[in-house]
Each structure stands twice: as C-alpha cells, then as structure tokens.
Symmetry: C2
Subunit: 117 residues, 2 copies
DNA sequence: GAAATAGTGAAGTGCACACTTGACTATTTT
DNA sequence: AAAATAGTCAAGTGTGCACTTCACTATTTC
C-alpha cells in the first residue's frame, strides 16, 4: 500500500521497536542527553540519533540542542495522537465485543450470504 | 536489536499498517470472509491472507474456517495487550508531564551534570 | 590552542516486510 | 461430474529499516 504516511502510522511504527520504547522509558524518569541514552543500549551514538529522529518526527519526543549536548524529553503530542485513535476505535470494537457474548454460536456467520444478486 | 519478538512489538507492528487497520475497521461492523475483506482493498487474496496471519498472531483477530470459507472477527486479546501497556506507561509519563508545567525553563537540564568523579 | 567530548552526515550492509504470480487443494453449485 | 468459488502454498521481487563505519563539525576542558 502506497501514499503519504499518516501520523498514526508513524506513532505505531515508532512504538513497535523495543529499543525506542526503552528510550521512552529512560525519558520517563527525566530528560537525558543522547550519549546518556546510548549508554545502557549497547548501540552507537548514530543509531540512537536515528531512533530519536523517528521518535521526534511522530511527536513522542522533543529535543533541544544546548551547546554541544542534545537534551531529549518526552513530548505529549504523540501520546495524545495515540489516545485519540484508541478512543475512536475502542468505541466501535467494544460495542461489537459486547454482542459477542450474546450472539456466540448463534448465527453461523453472515459470510455465506455473499451471492451476486 | 535482536532477541525473540515480544507480543507488544507485534501488536504495534500490526497496527502500524493502514491496510491492517482498514481490515480491523471492516471487522468492527461484524465478521467477514477473506474475499469480502479483500474487496475494497484492491489486493490479492494472498496478500490479505498474509495480513490476517499477522493480525491473528498478535491476538487482534480470530479466524475459523467453515467449509471453504474462512470467517474472521475481532479478537479482544490483542487490544487488552495494548491497553495494559498504555496504562502502565501513561502512569509514568503523565506524572512526568505534570511536572513539566511547574519546572518549564526552571532548571536548564540535569544533563550538563554528567561528569565522572 | 591542544585534546578530549558530544554529536552529525553520508554511504553501505543485511534482513524483514508488503506484495505478486502461478500452481494447487478443498468445497460448493449447477 | 464439470465448473465455479474460496482459499492456500512456495517462491520471487523491490523497498524500507536498523544498524554500522568513517570522516567531519562544534563545543568544552585543560
């Protein structure tokens, strides 16, 4: 599938990597420099920089360069993007899942009724 | 980063694809067969089958083959995996973000104080 | 101002992913 | 039983991704 990537795509993609989640976990305790973040990760500075770029692009992290040090912190924007998406979809799914309990093995499926009229 | 993929990785990865989210949206209205799902997607049956495999592996979709038709529906498991992860992490982040309002431009960063010794 | 520190940029590598084709199986329908 | 329908399997293709190395710049510290 092609087309310009939506923000929610990028948020999910960013969170789908355990290294990036580890970075976010570090930042949850407070702001950190790039090398400080790299320490426990066993990665090159370059690699960490690339992860930070991805996290910044989707609004999960905000960074600011002070002197020669880049300071990184959590950005709420990305999380509200995620929140909004989940809220919108949970509504639909939960309603459906409620009915599961009631309909379970009730109708075999509306699937068999696909016949061009 | 190597190692065996955790479930939450697979959930995020699954949701990071707009085609798979479109499949979930279709399933939100009720169970559907593979070809029915493929219809609006402009994809081969094979491709849709592969997406379904991914969705099934991380507990977002449950499928059952009846006759020659595979019936697909939403599975709550994957969503509670996601929910649990978000709950656990929102707690930490929100606490941090609360303090942002209070500390904002207060201390430049604890970053500069990394000096051995 | 020389040396250490913090990070950036470009280019390359290997693997994972989305997707296709084409041949095949299993079930319905007529 | 022949023909159509629903899906599956194996293999291949191009692209994107995580990560590295190496050369380089900007800032501190001594």
């Amino acid at each position: 599938m092609s087309g310009p990537k939506k923000t929610i795509d990028r948020v999910f993609h960013a969170l789908g990597d355990s290294t990036r989640r580890a970075i976010l976990d570090q930042l949850a305790t407070g702001p950190r420099s790039v090398s400080r973040l790299a320490g426990p990760l066993a990665l090159t500075l370059t690699a960490v920089g690339q992860h930070l770029q991805i996290l910044e692009d989707c609004g999960l992290v905000r960074t600011e360069k002070i002197g020669r040090v880049r300071s990184c912190r959590i950005d709420p924007t990305g999380f509200s993007t995620l929140d909004r998406w989940i809220q919108m979809h949970r509504a639909l799914w939960d309603r459906r899942l409620d009915q599961l309990g009631k309909l379970l093995d009730d109708s075999p499926d509306e699937v068999v009724s696909i016949r061009p009229g």
